[in-house]
């Protein structure tokens, strides 16, 4: 996965678990619901077959394509996942999750401009649903794209917008830390990384980057501390 979107991957399950439509008595809806249950149980191959069956019953059922896309993504079949997300977004232009996940696939291919467009479409849709768990994520991903381009002011704006929806997103604080570090705002960077670690103590990247910040601040003692923590969590996580 690209450096730009790797942190975005954490949103896959969050977006997947969102119920995007009201219960429907039709056979297709029932099939999709059954597939969702199978996926939640980790039975991804079976869930994929159920979603394929739902599509065979009704190829215009957007949610079936969206869910099938998730299953392709779990299997690392990213080209197929991208196709399904694109179909879902075309069938239901108001489906924020479809636009968002399509944007993720574009970003993984390095097509950052079109990815940004897809994220912006998701943002526009979610403007009427600010309580949605998905709401902060496209802002966060836009921030990654801006940061990669060196557009640090825009990146900070996007990350802070994401935090307005939910202040407890460790990955966003982590990325704020990176931007502040690139702007030589080391104290702000330190604070952002520390906040990320308060929320998720085993966030490897934050320990590593905080180590580098402390080296830059000529605080080798603190750098060594976060080096140890990075190594500890890296080894625990099988890295």
């Amino acid at each position: 996965m690209t450096a730009v979107v790797r942190p975005c991957a954490m949103s896959l399950m969050a977006a997947f678990l969102l119920g995007s439509c009201q219960p429907d008595a039709s056979e297709v809806a029932a099939a999709v619901d059954a597939g969702v249950v199978l996926a939640e149980e980790g039975k991804f191959s079976e869930a994929k077959e159920v979603f394929l069956r739902a599509i065979s019953l009704d190829s215009t059922y957007a949610e079936a394509h969206l869910r099938l896309g998730y299953m392709h993504e779990v299997a690392d079949a990213l080209a197929a996942a991208k196709r399904e997300y694109a179909i879902a977004a075309r069938l239901d232009s108001s489906m924020a999750a479809a636009h968002y996940n399509y944007g993720l696939m574009l970003a993984k291919e390095g097509d950052h401009q079109n990815a940004a467009d897809a994220f912006n479409r998701a943002i526009d849709i979610l403007a009427v649903d600010p309580d949605s768990a998905l709401a902060p994520l496209p802002h966060y991903c836009l921030g990654l794209i801006h940061a990669a381009r060196g557009e640090y002011d825009d990146a900070l704006q996007a990350y802070n917008r994401a935090l307005e929806f939910s202040s407890d997103l460790p990955y966003v604080h982590n990325e704020l830390g990176k931007v502040y570090k690139q702007r030589d705002q080391l104290e702000e960077s330190e604070a952002a990384y520390k906040r990320a670690l308060e929320l998720k103590a085993d966030l490897l990247g934050a320990h590593y980057d905080l180590m580098t910040v402390y080296m830059r601040m000529r605080r080798p003692d603190l750098a060594a501390k976060h080096k140890r923590l990075f190594e500890q969590f890296r080894d625990q996580q099988g890295g």
Binding site: M1, T2, A3, V4, R6, H72, A75, D76, A77, L78, A79, A80, K108, E109, G110, D111, H112, A147, A148, R149, G150, N174, K178, Q182, D184, L204, G205, H207, Y208, D209, M211, T212, M215, R216, A223, A224, K227, F230, E231, R234, G239
Partner: protein, 568 residues
């Protein structure tokens, strides 16, 4: 910002325009096809490809070329059938490493068999140095299997003495570099080893967790294997070597080495060692003197990219790109990972890949060969990357994972890199699966050229056609107390009050080795105020008032002599 440090004295120089690199492999007679198994790789062995070395094999003052080759096929029933775009030769003995003698007119002559260096095997990398200090260039070649040490006989032939010298090993050897790490006057040898590969048991495409990549059956990645210990051979000065990796402090962790270089990153006068490992932490061994190293890549910020992201690290280059007299580091990585530019901040390194302009442009390409080179002779280090995918099997479903990829050229603009590939001539528009890249002025016209090994294809000899519009200086050195090649010497050139420093090394990039002569672009400055050389022995010498556009030879303790002018 730190990235702009040292740029106050940047020279305003003529900017190269028009075609910059022209592909000349056929005209020059170096279009020998490289082989590395199947395009649709089934084994990791087929992915690594090979490298090349520019060096003066015959001592006649111009650059010859050694190109390592692999095999047409893995000789094991588990790896058939094959798929080749081009039918392999019927006579497989024609697939071998190649020594090409520069005939002085822009062409090369194949002297592989006459010289005794036409080895056939799963060749990986090569590096040249005069390890026995007898005045001629020797050659070390890495293999999957026993390595080769070619000792030059002084008459254009070589004796292969690896087994006799006990430096042959029998691992999956890749990167190699010579340097005098113990400062005893002769060069020692580092050999990086990759993964523990058993062809009879390795995972095949489609098998299990490691035989699938993005839903496509593919050769297993490095994560499917254990690493192998690297080797550090200490030169005893009498033709024998002692394997000293353990006593020197290497291999605390087993790596999966693909790239390596010696450099003095901390400026304390001894040779440190950087090892790029595939899909795991890279190693920075700090030389503590007395023949020992301490690995501290993680704390110093060069083990991973920003965020602690592990890279599929392959090629390495060292050079001072921002003119602050501290050598920086460039590491190539897998697709989706960016090439990583580590800025030396005197005590640690900062990953400035994105702020310096390298990051975004290298997110997609799969990079191998890494060069710092001053292609336009304006006095700062530009960047060249050799790119190409490991397999042809992905691009059908993933068009962004193209097998053949363009190499990239970045012009240094005050410490910020601007990609100029589109405007760098037809030689940079070639899209092949490139691997090793070596630089040197093979045609002696005053600008640096590049040779690229392309997997399962003919190579690219990229002749530089625009760099010599600016002035330039070439320095050739010969050690007397130091090793004869002068490896490890640091040379600082001051012209128009702007200084630049280069360090002479043997082995870097990806499986490759560059010209042993150091080139300094001078921009519009045509009279060098001062050249200072700090030898590996610790001796320092200074020379003043040198004319530009000329080759100069410095012999340790014996002065400097003018060589030929650079032909325009």
């Amino acid at each position: 910002m730190v990235v702009m440090a040292g740029c106050a004295g940047a020279q305003t120089a003529a900017v190269a325009s028009g075609p910059t690199f022209v592909e000349m492999s056929h005209q020059a007679g170096v279009d020998v096809r490289s082989w590395s198994g199947d395009e649709d790789t089934k084994s990791i062995l087929e992915t690594t490809g090979s490298g090349a070395a520019f060096y003066d094999a015959d001592g006649d003052g111009d650059l010859d070329l050694y190109v390592v080759n692999g095999k047409v096929a893995i000789e094991h029933d588990r790896y058939r059938p094959l798929s080749h775009d081009v039918s392999p030769p019927e006579d497989l003995s024609t697939v071998h490493n190649t020594l090409l003698e520069n005939t002085g007119d822009g062409r090369f002559e194949d002297i592989s068999f006459a010289s005794g260096t036409a080895h056939s095997g799963w060749g990986q990398g090569c590096v040249s140095a005069d390890y026995d200090n007898d005045g001629d260039a020797d050659l070390f070649v890495t293999n999957f299997g026993p390595n080769l040490l070619y000792r030059a006989n002084g008459d254009g032939t070589y004796a292969e003495v690896a087994a006799e010298a006990d430096v042959h090993g029998d691992e999956y050897s890749t990167a190699a570099a010579f340097a005098d790490y113990d400062n005893d006057g002769d060069v020692d040898l580092f050999v990086g080893n990759y993964v523990d590969l058993d062809m009879s048991t390795a995972v095949l495409p489609g098998e299990g967790k490691w035989g699938i990549t993005r839903g496509i059956p593919s050769s297993p990645p490095p994560e499917a294997f254990d690493g192998q210990p690297d080797m550090l051979y200490r030169n005893q000065g009498d033709g024998t070597w002692v394997e000293a990796s353990a006593s020197a402090g290497l291999n605390v962790r087993r790596g999966k080495a693909l790239g390596a270089l010696f450099w003095d990153y901390d400026g304390d006068g001894d040779q440190d060692l950087y090892v790029a490992n595939d899909a795991m932490a890279n190693f920075l061994y700090t030389n503590g003197g007395g023949g020992t190293f301490t690995e501290e890549g993680l704390l110093l910020g060069v083990a991973y990219s920003e965020g602690g992201v592990v890279g599929g690290s392959m090629g390495v280059a060292a050079g001072d790109y921002d003119g602050d007299d501290l050598p920086d580091l460039l590491v190539t990585n897998y697709e989706g990972q960016t090439a990583t530019l580590y800025h030396n901040e005197a005590g640690y390194f900062a990953d400035l890949s994105f702020p310096a302009g390298i990051g975004l442009r290298t997110l997609n390409p799969l990079q191998w060969g890494a060069l710092f080179l001053d292609y336009d002779n304006d006095g700062d280090k530009d960047v060249f990357l050799a790119n190409g995918h490991i397999t042809a099997g992905l691009e059908r479903d993933y068009p962004q994972s193209r097998y053949g990829q363009r190499n990239q050229l970045f012009r240094n603009d005050g410490g910020h890199f601007i990609e100029v590939t589109d405007d760098a001539g037809e030689g940079l528009q070639i899209a092949k699966s490139s691997r090793g890249a070596a630089s040197g002025d093979y045609d002696g016209d005053g600008d640096v050229d590049v040779f690229v090994v392309n997997r399962n294809d003919t190579p690219s000899l990229l002749r530089n056609e625009a760099g010599n519009r600016n002035h330039r200086l070439e320095i050739r050195v010969e050690g007397t107390r130091s090793n004869r090649d002068g490896i490890g010497a640091k040379i600082r050139v001051v012209c128009d009050n702007v200084s630049q420093t280069r360090e002479l090394r043997a082995g870097s990039s990806y499986l490759s080795s560059h010209s042993p002569w150091l080139s300094f672009g001078l921009g519009p400055c045509d009279k060098v105020e001062e050249v200072t050389i700090r030898w590996a022995s610790g001796g320092v010498e200074t020379f003043r008032g040198l004319a530009a556009d000329r080759t100069w030879k410095i012999v340790e303790g014996k002065g400097i002599t003018a060589g030929p002018e650079t032909r325009p």
